[in-house]
């Protein structure tokens, strides 16, 4: 695919790796925010190519992992109701709630469907006027414009049997919360490239300044990640803490103006509880008042949910970069991708799943 394959070129990757080694003189710890970046790093073995002492701390940038437990439980409750068609992105189907996951609801007779795009869910609603169609609107800022459009279209087209269970999370408040954490070891951030494609880079310079950390907007292909790491290390080595864009082909400083206008129209900021981390003020989006009729939380009675996280799951500490997946006592034993205890093991880009899938070789004792 054009503009994809070129950014995986092994020869250019080698050059970038050599440059990284040439400029690194001390240990550094940086966090890649986005789960897609975590996936790419581990899948290509990029962390194995970095200089000794350069550590990638995996951030909470997987919306699947951080969707609040209570929201997952609400999704399960709604999906189980008769007459409901529950549409979701594929990633969410195996996220465990307090009891089960959406696959379990499906096997008990719930009509749970995977969609690629939120507009597909709206189409399902138009094709099934006698059913209530609910779409699970999760994601970071990247996915929010798509989810917003589905709600906006529903109103414009007068589709009454459609609603959305919204649970968006925002990157900048997460960065602040991580830096405020007393046990924080993060010295720099690779910002999420596609989040910035939508939102631009305006929110980041003040974070870089306030916390004294370089923030480099980074893409997802091997060369993009290596370049993001390289620019970050150069800043660290020269004592700088600036916002830089290492993904200029897809990120403009002003972001995507029509998308941001739609976001302001459809969503409003709210406090959000990040699964495994806790409540971060003003870190999420919910449907704005004027769209309340499309809010699944209001259309369905989902009160009285009692959440219960398995005690042994340490997703929260993994998400904050405090614990590596294989340091968790349950990793690979009670908690595997087959039977995930926590969301970090479910999502294909959750740090634990990525480690389990790609790294077990290093962690297996030599036989």
């Amino acid at each position: 695919m054009k503009y994809l394959d070129e950014f995986g070129d092994p020869d250019l990757a080698r050059k970038l790796v050599e440059q990284i080694h040439a400029v690194t003189t001390r240990p550094w710890a940086m966090m890649e925010v986005c789960g897609g970046q975590t996936h790419s790093i581990i899948r290509h073995g990029i962390d194995q190519l970095l200089p000794e002492g350069v550590e990638m701390i995996h951030g909470p940038g997987c919306p699947v992992c951080v969707t609040p437990l209570e929201t997952v439980d609400k999704a399960l409750a709604i999906a189980a109701q008769p007459g409901v068609i529950f549409c979701s992105f594929g990633d969410m189907l195996r996220v465990p709630g307090s009891g089960q996951d959406l696959f379990g609801v499906k096997s008990a007779g719930g009509d749970v469907r995977v969609v690629y795009s939120p507009l597909d869910a709206l189409t399902v609603a138009r094709e099934n006027p006698d059913r209530q169609v609910v779409f699970f609107g999760i994601g970071f800022e990247t996915t929010a414009p798509a989810n917003a459009m589905a709600v906006h279209q529903a109103r414009r087209l007068g589709v009454r049997n459609f609603s959305v269970l919204v649970s968006h999370v925002l990157v900048p408040p997460a960065i602040a919360a991580i830096m405020e954490s007393p046990s924080c070891r993060v010295q720099a951030f690779l910002a999420a490239g596609h989040v910035c494609s939508v939102m631009g880079t305006a929110e980041y310079p003040q974070l870089a300044e306030k916390y004294g950390v370089p923030i480099v907007v980074t893409g997802f292909e091997p060369l993009d990640i290596l370049e993001g790491i390289r620019q970050t290390i150069v800043q660290l080595e020269t004592g700088r803490h600036d916002l830089r864009n290492a993904y200029p082909r897809a990120v403009r400083p002003e972001g995507n103006l029509p998308a941001m206008a739609m976001l302001r129209e459809v969503f409003e900021v709210t406090d959000r509880t990040w699964r495994g981390i806790g409540t971060i003020p003003d870190s999420g989006w919910r449907l704005a008042r004027r769209y309340r009729e499309y809010d699944a939380e209001h259309r369905f009675d989902v009160g009285g949910i009692r959440t219960a996280e398995p005690a042994v799951c340490r997703s929260g500490e993994v998400l904050q970069g405090l614990v590596k997946p294989h340091e968790c006592p349950a990793f690979g034993k009670q908690c595997t991708p087959r039977n995930p205890l926590g969301a970090t093991m479910v999502s294909s880009e959750g740090a634990c799943a990525a480690y389990y899938a790609y790294r077990r070789l290093d962690l297996v004792p030599a036989s």
Binding site: Y3, L4, K15, V23, P118, T143, R156, E227, P248, N256
Partner: protein
């Protein structure tokens, strides 16, 4: 998050009052919503996430980035100082 891939716009059409595009992902074709990049035209590249174009792909910038990668190391040989070169590349000397 954010699995988004670049694709080339083949054609644009209004469907039920929504701007949609037929996008070619190197052989795979998919119908994608273009409302967020409404002035993008056939032949241009966009980045697509969950069925929506979320940003134009700047081809000039893409080529420039690849060219920069190609030149890495070569410039070091010329100027003999990887430090300064690297710092210049991140704009640290601005």
């Amino acid at each position: 998050m954010c699995l988004a891939v670049p694709g080339r716009i083949v054609s644009v059409a209004d469907v039920d009052g929504t701007l949609m595009a037929d996008i070619d992902f190197g052989g795979v074709r998919k119908n994608v919503c273009l409302e967020y990049v409404p002035d993008a035209a056939a032949g241009e590249y966009v980045i697509v996430h969950v069925g929506f174009a979320i940003q134009r792909l700047d081809e000039v910038s893409a080529r420039q980035t690849l060219a920069d990668f190609e030149r890495l190391g070569i410039l070091e040989e010329e100027f003999g100082d990887g430090w300064t070169q690297a710092a210049r590349q991140v704009g640290a000397d601005r």
